[in-house]
Symmetry: D2
Subunit: 389 residues, 4 copies
């Protein structure tokens, strides 16, 4: 039996705090127990502050992918045209869901080390005035890149287009303002920058999005695990559930959301900003290159690194894990081999975690025969992490 890792520094799920684990281990109760219903309500209240929305939060009881598929299934009908922004693998993936719903995807795409240009969005919307929906990934986990969701959603929103943002990785690691930016649907996950446990998919939904699901469609989707309306009719309207809730995951979600708010959302994001920057500085100090084309579009929670000539990314991942006990991620799908990924999210967006990760990265690169000055990456990172808050 393989030993458990000493440090999780993968692209997610990340490590969680001891407090989260303890809150997670509360005795399981029936989901209609009043104490649980109150806990669920507290979770959604906390999440409103984190999504920066005054509207509704629903929480399908499955992974983020469920949320994205549910959004497509709940929102799109045959004949709908959806402007899908593709700057990475997750963005591209959403086309599957658009197509399954019978809608037509239109694409604005950039290479996967780039970010979407809001002006391209503006142009595309002008060219296709019948587009009803726009979908964009806030932060791409495979590429470690970030899109300018604020400008994109403002443009789309002004054009009367319903906006859908996958902010699974972005929420908590980059500024995000659902209402102020005109985001109609924002899909998140607890297990990335919020520092939580995987298995739930909190979604913020605007009145306009509810309207589109309930009225614009000929047959609104109901009585399905993919139905967001089921959640509105049960949770939002009646504090009920469409099916059995994942009780202990909700304990953990309520806990991590409370912890983020106790730290302060801005400070929580600022920690990611600083650690992300420090990690990229370390990567460069080790003679490696971050995958994103420019620093301004780099994600603060996951650093995707270009695999240098002569290095086997899989061997690096394996070496860090054994014998050093540090789990990082290799590249995902098309980016397998050409990239590997360092995670620093949630509670792990911290100098101690980053230093440990980088020290083992350096050591493992040396073990694999790369010329590395041990400590160079850690030093470069720590130079940027003074006066930590």
């Amino acid at each position: 039996m393989t030993d458990w890792p000493y440090l999780s520094a993968a692209s997610g799920p990340g490590e969680v705090t001891n407090r989260t684990l303890r809150d997670h281990a509360r005795q399981v109760v029936n989901h209609y127990d009043p104490a649980f219903v109150e806990t669920f309500a507290r979770a959604t209240d906390h999440l409103k502050h984190i999504f920066r929305t005054a509207h509704d939060i629903v929480i399908p009881q499955g992974e983020v992918v469920l949320g994205m598929e549910a959004v497509a299934a709940s929102l799109f009908s045959p004949g709908d045209r959806v402007l899908n922004l593709v700057s990475g693998i997750f963005g591209k993936w959403f086309e599957t869901f658009i197509a399954r719903a019978g809608a037509e995807p239109l694409e604005v795409a950039v290479p996967y080390d780039q970010a979407i240009d809001p002006e391209d969005v503006r142009r595309a919307l002008r060219r296709h005035p019948d587009v009803g929906f726009l979908a964009v990934v806030h932060a791409e986990t495979p590429s470690g890149t970030v899109n300018p969701v604020d400008d994109i959603c403002r443009i789309a929103s002004e054009a009367g287009v319903i906006t859908i943002v996958d902010t699974a990785l972005g929420l908590g690691s980059h500024p995000f303002e659902a209402d102020a930016w005109g985001v109609d649907i924002a899909v998140a996950g607890p297990q990335k920058a919020l520092g939580g446990v995987p298995g739930l998919c909190p979604i913020a939904v605007s009145p306009r999005a509810w309207e589109a699901m309930a009225r614009r469609r000929p047959t609104p989707l109901r009585e399905s695990y993919l139905s967001l309306l089921d959640w509105r009719e049960s949770w939002v309207e009646k504090r009920a559930f469409p099916y059995t809730a994942s009780v202990s995951l909700v304990y953990a979600l309520e806990s991590v959301a409370a912890q983020v708010l106790e730290v302060g959302l801005e400070r929580h994001i600022a920690r990611h900003t600083r650690v992300g920057r420090a990690c990229r500085a370390a990567v460069r100090a080790l003679g490696l290159a971050p995958w994103p084309a420019r620093d301004e579009i780099a994600c603060n929670a996951v650093t995707t690194v270009r695999t240098p000539e002569g290095l086997d990314a899989g061997a690096l991942v394996a070496r860090m894990r054994r014998p050093y006990g540090v789990k990082i991620s290799g590249g995902y799908k098309e980016l397998a081999g050409v990239t590997f990924r360092l995670g620093h999210m949630g509670v792990s967006a911290h100098p101690t975690h980053l230093a440990a990760l980088l020290a083992v990265l350096e050591r493992s690169l040396a073990d694999l025969g790369r010329s590395v000055r041990l400590g160079a990456g850690v030093g470069a990172a720590m130079a940027l992490l003074g006066e930590w808050e």
Copy 2:
């Protein structure tokens, strides 16, 4: 803030052991960490023993309802005819999924306090030789009844029909033999008689069922949260995941499955048998009547009770919860008001749990003005629970 309950005796999720909670609280890791992959594999191995199957186990990462919808979405195509056996609310619910998949449901139905007669199934299959699938609920959580799944599936299987069993409540509380009985798809949940944490949906799939999903359908369902084939192509074939796994729920599932096998599956079921019988004896001793028409079709994990004349079931549920801290369930949907439900599942299929539940039931009935000899129900139950094993 409402206090947490002292005792969970609802229709599920039930209480879990301290060991399960502790295993659940293992630090979260990336789902591709080798230690986690081994844990997931152990969970599926345990489950093969519990389902009594030599075939495959997949575990969609959501509640049982996800599993049932996924089965329908993965298996049925327009033109398919599905014999749907309806002896309760959950059986009826499945029609929605049949219809959404474009298939045609044929129904064999009985009143909700009855069980399906296998001979009716035989007759229906003869009458409709083009039926390709049969669906049946092993144990109905709302009614607290059990269907003779062994005979039903044998009949259907011999007729070349693919059989689908919802054994969310049955698995662990009643005998179940997937392979021996000709069950092609069995859908379970950890949070009932297995004594686990809600949020996952283990499914046993026969080769014949895989064949039907992959070959018989014009377009096999892939790249969807509802796709079982995605799980075959990822987990079964490559020890990979179609999406991020609910890591900590898998810890708990592996743990409860191991605990069931350590107790011994037969002994685990026998405990439910004895506690179920004892609970019904107690109910009768209190002048109440179990909902199932006959004792032989009563479920061993949930006792559904007919609300007697003059009792407000909702008031009883509320009274037991406050001030006594015991959570039971009211009736579900059509059975609301006319029934209430006592849960005794998983670790709670035990004399101590049952005695506590019944003592508070008696006390609360008395508080609500019913004439009850305090201790009568407990005594009747304990009379049947000597020589506990």
Copy 3:
């Protein structure tokens, strides 16, 4: 390997809440970490409210017996005369510590099913005006009896005698007022009626007691695990520790003390009062007799039962534990065989716990051939537990 019990109903340690276990499982830190020092301070603040004292709390890091020995070692010198009140085994035990300190024990004793009469104390103090100290056990765990500590300490205090109370079992299950009653030293334990984890020994100390330790003795005891003065000089004066603190036990203590105060101390005690009375009623309904000579002197947290003619107490303890998974206690030392003990303390001072315990007691008595109407004890208990608060 023996299975763990389903229910702990012994004379202590008792079961603890899921919240206590979770708080207990906080990551261990160095005892001088500022967050820990604050936690320790919160624990002592909570305990002042529970002891009803405005004076000091110290917490030797060991079991209650350590506390009692430390009190004797810290307080008594050769030549001192100590009036030791003996109504049970623990009271008698204290003589060992008095003697080891070189002091002379004078005894007021009653049979172990009786309580001390305060007038006997008054008489003894008149007879022996040179007595400097009085020691009394609030609630005797072996006998399940309670002494009138209020009157005893008032009488002694007025006589200028320093009073020492072992309230390990009494604190939380019976009223206790350190300052109002003139208690100079009160020794408790977390693991009984406070519902906590064993291994610590909170002690309330009055200024008069400190004075006696520091000034009256020719050589105050310092630099010893038995020294209370070490704790005053370190914790009370400097928020320091005389040795490494049992960090995780302090987490648990702070948690249970907070939980008692959240419930409300009076309500917490009232729960014990009602459950104790209900347990004795059940014992009588089963044809058994509580050990205490009269109900007014019975302890509310432990019911000591006289073993009836023809019953083997050890066989009963064994039978309840296996196969039924309920741990009760046999008799202690001189009371072995002639008594057995039922615990209902802390979180277990609750109708559900009591009903489960009694149902298994009845069942086991029947198994051992006693004539018992199953349910009779539970019914008698529940008759007294309506309108639980």
Copy 4:
């Protein structure tokens, strides 16, 4: 309320594994529950392997200091002469306990950055043939130094002297062989190199030591928290306890002892050896000096560092803790100010922990105005930690 630390790198207690925390959180049971008695027995069995003894293990339920005082109180009588080896503050402290027992301490002392020379012991024993006991600290927590306990105890043992070793910090971080080296009494603690939870004090006792306690003393110490004989008469002989056991601490102790043995004791020690060496290399690379006079006598679990000219050790400790969340220890008593201490013990004897600690040390030194090349210490350490096992 102060935030909890991110990393504990103090002189102990150290961090514990997630598994230890989970095992620690098992429901509390009565200490005479058979499952608990078995757990206690497993703990003592594991400890025999760790102490390398075939003799008895007893576990007084308190901190290491309790153990040392109990040894003195149980073993020494007026007239006894005890050769006390003093190479640090803890060694010196033991004189208090020798004197309180009425025995006479003879001292072999060296400066606190040195280790005892076994030849000095030989000479002292020749000079004082009436010495009956020898006491030595294996590893001094304040100084971070190690004594050659193997040679010292062999010499003393051959001279017929009963040997007492405080190996609280040494056990698990340096080789230790109770039986092979002639150690009669070895006192340990779970919370240092074993990676456990503080509050217990496992002691290995040889038959010769038991003999000395029981026969050589005019009045053997019994019925005291300080009595080791009580433990022999209860635990060793009857699997009973002299007082209530600290149940949950025993859960944790059994767990950490099992974990050490699963890793393998030699490998566990080797990890400390490598990490200790790496830490000292890092300290030197940062222009600092380890406190021990030579590397061969440096402790592998705690690195005591000489505070350099111009640095305020207290300010460094405070700075690392806030804002960086890393808790180290300042100097202890006489060594306050002139030293500070870095802990790397138990689970924290690992490259990730060390790198994180050193990175924050470097950063904090820089913050305080020291000239430090960030990364230099980490690099020096990691250079020695390749091929980690």
